[in-house]
Symmetry: C2
Subunit: 253 residues, 2 copies
């Protein structure tokens, strides 16, 4: 059976995240994709995603793989799935890959982007589901704080309760601020070999707390070293977060 | 009574346009704004907008004026209205202006932006309400066609049925293509002293028809000179259109 690698974009606003919720009527991206693939293949198709994005989190470069019947080898997947998927999911690319390719296990790392709107008095309605309106932030302090967030470290302090994992050590290659795609926004980019549950949203929560003067940049070092989920900073809202890329090709990071 | 000038942004997706629909339950931006102003002023407030955007059309720089009771002169309007308006409208700025200022009559011109997504196989879900996915376009041909659309001319060919107007002559200062704010999109900017009903959407419809090879750039000259609404090109969908600025200060255009 040919193995397909699919690159996906979705507006996460109306999805309860990526992962299929068994026995639930909640709408998920995996469910939408499996339904469309099942229609084309005339049999159930299981899809494996690279990252389990939370409810409300978006993607511009999620990757998934699945095995399809040999009889469907010639299907123009991008168009065929596009015709069957709801308007808030798109397949950007589809390619046949080796059968040892696995969307999650073959990934060397991922890049997420988080968009902040640092204007306190109003928000831009067109961006209300895609950025976090925080009010004014001290960006120099945030840049200094971000320097403490890279390296190979135990990032347990940024993990929310949930899926148990063997190790909470991750290698974060970059936490970098840049101008937002949308004028006036600031985009933070996070690159790592992997992320713990809600890790990026907790990192953003702490960065914003620093930007608001509630922590000093140097406090970040102690918070990470403390290996406890500090309650003093909030988990950033899902809506500002986007899975922008999954990296498969070395050298990475 | 102090006169207020309000600068507004809205996501037009779920609005039946700007204008209050008398005796209708349809949701409009003017209605939302008058309701919020009425709550703050404890009396009915009539709002006058610079442009009557259609259903589904967005704004990042719509302007409106209204008269408020002197007792409300010190209200922090941006925050007070922001707290009462639905999430798909925002007040970006509020200032007290001379009583002879009129949002529509004082305007020297307007700028609209239209976003095109020239990829035929898929769309970006996050942009589905903000750009028109047309498929591949010959942009050089569109640039040549756009040159015929400027100047002081009778633009009746771009007017859809509707509000009768005294004159269909307008001065179009610019029809210019540029890179989109969002990667991969193309933004067309239209500047004029005024626009006829659905004029920008019809100009975009014709530009796209040229880009798809259904008209030659030089045909545009004859279409405008013919002063008839040609049926051979479509009115572009509302979703790609945004009222980006209303110009009050000379020299303009």
């Amino acid at each position: 059976m040919p193995r397909l690698k699919l690159t996906l974009a979705y507006d996460g606003t109306d999805f309860c995240g990526w992962q299929l919720q068994r026995g639930s009527s909640q709408r998920t991206v995996q469910q939408a994709l499996e339904r469309a693939l099942g229609e084309i293949c005339a049999r159930p198709v299981r899809v494996h995603g690279a990252g389990r994005t939370d409810s409300g989190v978006h993607a511009l470069g999620q990757v998934a793989h699945c095995d399809v019947p040999a009889s469907r080898a010639e299907v123009p997947w991008v168009r065929a799935l596009g015709a069957r998927l709801p308007a808030d999911v798109s397949v950007l690319a589809a390619e046949t890959v080796d059968e040892d390719f696995h969307a999650r296990l073959s990934a060397l790392g991922k890049t997420y982007t988080y968009s902040l709107w640092p204007e306190g008095r109003y928000h831009i309605p067109q961006r209300r589901n895609f950025a976090w309106a925080t009010g004014p932030l001290d960006e120099a302090a945030m840049d200094a704080a971000a320097l403490h967030m890279t390296g190979t470290r135990d990032f347990r302090c940024f993990q929310n309760a949930g899926t148990p994992v063997r190790s909470t050590v991750r290698t974060v290659a970059a936490v970098v601020r840049g101008p937002g795609v949308f004028p006036g926004e600031t985009d933070w980019r996070f690159c790592a070999d992997g992320f713990l549950k809600q890790m990026v949203r907790n990192m953003v929560g702490l960065l914003v707390a620093v930007g608001q003067g509630r922590f000093r940049p140097d406090d970040v070092e102690a918070i990470i070293a403390g290996r406890e989920r500090a309650v003093a900073f909030a988990t950033a809202p899902a809506r500002g977060l986007c899975l922008t890329r999954v990296h498969y090709d070395p050298p990475w990071p």
